[in-house]
């Protein structure tokens, strides 16, 4: 995992890392991060954890400030077993599904991930069981769990500040024209930098917070 990767990819990668440690999947010969490679019989039981899709919705007003999103990352799970007995095959799929749900969620701070990624909520999920191809005429008695969970977390893309505000020029006066010999001194509060005497001009770093006399 890398900070160079998106939050959703970090979530996918760490979920797979955690799932690999679950005892029920100890004899899985191959784990997949994407469906790019076909699953062959020697890979059974097979477990894939995929980034199925990521939807972004605005976090706050879309037209104010930098781009801020609520990310809805759908993480898919594919667990494939083989068994000639349909009931046992289904039972294995269910055991795999429940192992993912319980071992993943019933852990303190399950929602914290590397690189400061934190899941704020699980919005929805689904699962279904499938047995072979559409015609159900394939040679190997495969049974397949397809499940997904959609996680919500936030992504903010602040702009790079190339014109840093490092000085403020303030002119204050209660008499115009201002004569420092005739008028009492004025003070300007620059946020974070204290109170400055404002004999016509005050300079400092920060934001003008108030004016005193």
């Amino acid at each position: 995992m890398s900070t160079a990767n998106s939050y959703a990819m970090n979530i996918r990668n760490e979920m797979l890392s955690r799932i690999k440690t679950f005892p029920i999947f100890a004899d899985v010969p191959r784990f997949g991060k994407s469906p790019m490679l076909t699953v062959q019989s020697e890979h059974i039981p097979y477990l894939g954890v995929y980034l199925v899709e990521e939807q972004l919705s605005t976090d706050g007003d879309a037209n104010a400030g930098e781009p801020r999103f609520k990310s809805h990352a759908k993480i898919g799970f594919q667990y494939v077993v083989q068994n000639n007995d349909p009931d046992l095959a289904e039972d294995k799929l269910d055991l795999g599904y429940w192992a993912i749900m319980t071992n993943f969620f019933e852990v303190q701070r399950w929602d914290y991930f590397a690189n400061a990624v934190q899941i704020e909520g699980v919005e929805r999920g689904s699962r279904s069981h499938h047995y072979g191809n559409a015609g159900n005429d394939n040679r190997t008695p495969y049974a397949e769990l397809r499940a997904d969970l959609t996680f919500m977390q936030r992504e903010v893309f602040p702009p790079p500040v190339v014109d840093m505000l490092d000085s403020v020029h303030v002119t204050v006066a209660d008499h115009v024209p201002y004569d420092p010999l005739e008028n009492a001194p004025l003070y300007v509060i620059i946020d974070g930098l204290g109170i400055f005497s404002a004999t016509g001009i005050a300079a400092g770093i920060g934001t003008a917070k108030g004016i005193g006399q």
Binding site: I24, Q78, N84, N133, D137, N138, R139, T140, E144
Partner: protein, 126 residues
């Protein structure tokens, strides 16, 4: 009118050439009956299992053609068929997953096609 007797003049000579021995354990079609020997033509073709997200499980379709009149009681779904290695081609043990056509008329040429599912070691183990 048909010019040929398809089962006897077309298909049976093919079976004499291409069929291989099989042993049927009729656990569904003749419950309790002993296994018996017969013959059939084995064929295979690729078929994949494709999920909506694009994941593909690679597999094949395996079929066994039999002559209906060579079986007093044709096999049914879940019967076990052992096909030993024959003429340099591997075999295996399979169960009947499906019949293409019905067991009376078959393909209307005297043949019945059995879709086979391999009897495999369960993974994960029970």
């Amino acid at each position: 009118m048909a010019q040929f007797n398809i089962p006897d003049e077309v298909n049976r000579p093919n079976y004499d050439t291409w069929a291989r021995p099989i042993t049927v354990t009729p656990i569904a079609s003749q419950r309790g009956a002993p296994a018996y020997s017969s013959r059939g033509i084995l064929d295979t073709a690729e078929t994949d299992i494709v999920s909506p997200d694009g994941a593909i499980i690679s597999d094949s379709k395996l079929v066994l053609d039999i002559m209906i009149d060579e079986f007093p009681t044709p096999p049914k779904q879940r019967d076990i068929i052992n096909i030993p290695a024959h003429m340099g081609v591997a075999g295996g043990t399979f169960e009947v997953a499906d019949l293409i056509g019905d067991s009376t008329t078959g393909n209307a040429g005297g043949e019945l096609t059995l879709v086979l599912r391999e009897v495999i070691e369960p993974k994960p183990s029970p």
